[in-house]
Amino acid sequence: MTLSSLEMGILDILSGDSRIPYAQIAVMLGAEEAAVAAAAAALEEKAVLVGYPALIDWDKTAREQVQAVIEVKVTPQRDMGFDAIAERIYRFEEVKAVYLMSGAYDLMLEVQADSMKRLAGFVAQRLATIEHVLSTATHFVLKKYKLNGLVLEKKPEDERLVVSP
């Protein structure tokens, strides 16, 4: 899909901070606010701009949460390849991401649940039992360091001199 430089500019800015209002984006890109709003709407329509979720490190909260990365081997289906089986899997709300992979396995899932038991149950009872799923390998996430290009540990400090020539 070929996008205009305005559309690419909007995506660049929103990918860094989706709270920036259209009026400010317009100034930053040297465009009209109405044009930015229209372009953003078109990007949503084309499902290029899919959502605006905040990036949260839940590990710093009291909420219990377990995450795993699961490698899945499947049998692709005639005429539909991997798409139909991927859909069967991504419809589960525990599944946060699904990727088709090259290499030793076919699909990689990022799965999240509120306890280890729930997650284990999801894998054993739901995922592994789907027709065409041949095998699964579950890797639990122990700690997250960096997510979507952002380091989670601490807010980086500005170490520059306060005034310099």
Partner: protein
């Protein structure tokens, strides 16, 4: 000891830096929003840092050639050729320096005889005038103004030239004004200098940060290479200020003189910084300078935001097309630059730099740096607006 009587008169006569004075004031205010820095907010790309670490691991802890490693100089030559159509021989026309700042000193000392005059745009970077003085020369400020985009015009140049004029410092894109000189502007300067014995010290440290047309190097103007000392470096384009890596390029006769000073005062630029700089150029060349371009695009967005914000609040602001500074006039407030900045700092906790720190002609202006996060710019604009309204 009567230090005043014993220490160098020349050094004592150099006035203290206006930046330093303001630094002391801002340092007291720990939580101020700082738009008063002169360096990128990006940290050095990790591949560049890693090259320095690797060079340590390999035990590269010795001197390099006075000129810098030949591999770095070859990369500099390739970069200048690819980006600015300049041809310098890496063997004896390029010196790796400790920042472009060292280059300023080398160029002046290699060129000046006692009493020689050097034309320095006013306002401009704080080091030129003191360095001219330390090199035994006489700095002659050439006043530039917003009406000419803070450029050096041929008329001003002709008026400032005397039989003692040895060099012109041409620092564009300019700190603190953000002014740039495009090809036609440089051609006009070249026309005045052609046939004269006047050299040009082209400090092009901000060459990668232009937001209109691409940068044109003065050395690329026809016939100007022979009289140009080109200074550039890694601080601004590659976010490497703390590494202190720059370079000086000049015709070999001149470069040999500069290298003589460099070899007796510095020996060579730090080895790890040289390794890092080489990686910055190699990876830049291989990726079409994608990292540089990414930073430039973000600076441009911030520039527009700050420029519009300042104009909306009624400050008379020239639109800068280079570096990462805005230099609005604050004359409409009736306050001198220093008073304006100090009041703004105390009342709204926003740090910016008084224009007169960059020369007498900077009075009535302030320098605002946009190498800060977008949300800092938005907040600073709110506070400056409130401050200006409070003055009315």
């Amino acid at each position: 000891m009567d230090y005043q009587k014993l220490l160098s008169r020349t050094v004592q006569e150099i006035p203290p830096s206006g930046i330093r004075k303001f630094f002391d004031i801002v340092s007291e205010m720990k939580d101020a929003l700082s738009l008063s820095v002169g360096e990128p907010d990006f940290t050095t790309p990790w591949n560049v840092c890693e090259a320095a670490i690797y060079s340590l691991e390999r035990g590269q802890t010795h001197y390099s050639s006075n000129w810098g490693t030949i591999s770095l100089r070859r990369e500099i030559a390739r970069y200048l050729s690819a980006r600015y159509a300049l041809e310098y021989d890496p063997e004896d026309e390029i010196i790796a320096t400790v920042g472009a700042s060292e280059g300023i000193d080398l160029a002046l000392r290699a060129l000046l005889n006692p009493g020689d005059e050097v034309l320095v745009p006013d306002p401009s970077f704080v080091a030129y005038m003191p360095c001219v003085r330390l090199a035994g020369g006489v700095a002659v400020p050439v006043k530039t103004g917003a009406e000419d985009g803070f450029k050096i015009t041929p008329g001003q140049l002709r008026a400032a030239i005397t039989p003692r004029t040895k060099a012109l410092i041409l620092p564009y894109p300019n700190n603190p004004t953000g002014g740039v000189m495009e090809r036609a502007d440089l051609e006009a300067v070249a026309a005045v200098l052609r046939g004269s014995g006047i050299f040009v010290i082209a400090d092009e440290i901000y060459s990668e940060l232009t937001y209109g047309q691409g940068h044109v190097s003065f050395a690329a103007i026809e016939g100007m290479r022979e009289r140009t000392v080109l200074l550039n470096g890694f601080s601004k384009a590659f976010a490497m200020t703390g590494w202190r890596m720059g370079y000086l390029c000049a015709p070999r006769e001149l470069a040999a003189m500069a290298c003589k000073i460099h070899q007796y005062t510095i020996m060579c630029a730090p080895m790890q910084a040289q390794a890092a700089a080489e990686e910055a150029l190699v990876s830049g060349f291989e990726t079409g300078y994608a990292q540089v371009e990414g930073m430039r695009r973000i600076y441009d967005q911030r520039r527009r935001l700050l420029f519009k914000g300042l104009n909306d609040m009624g400050l008379d602001c020239f639109e800068p097309l280079g570096a990462f500074y805005l230099f609005p006039s604050i004359r409409s407030t009736g306050l001198p630059s220093e008073v304006f900045c100090e009041k703004l700092l105390r009342e709204e906790k926003v740090a910016i730099v008084p224009g007169n720190a960059f020369g007498a002609a900077g009075e009535g202006h302030v320098r605002i740096c946009y190498a800060v996060a977008t949300e800092v710019i938005v907040e600073a604009l709110k506070r400056i607006d409130r401050f200006i309204k409070s003055l009315k």
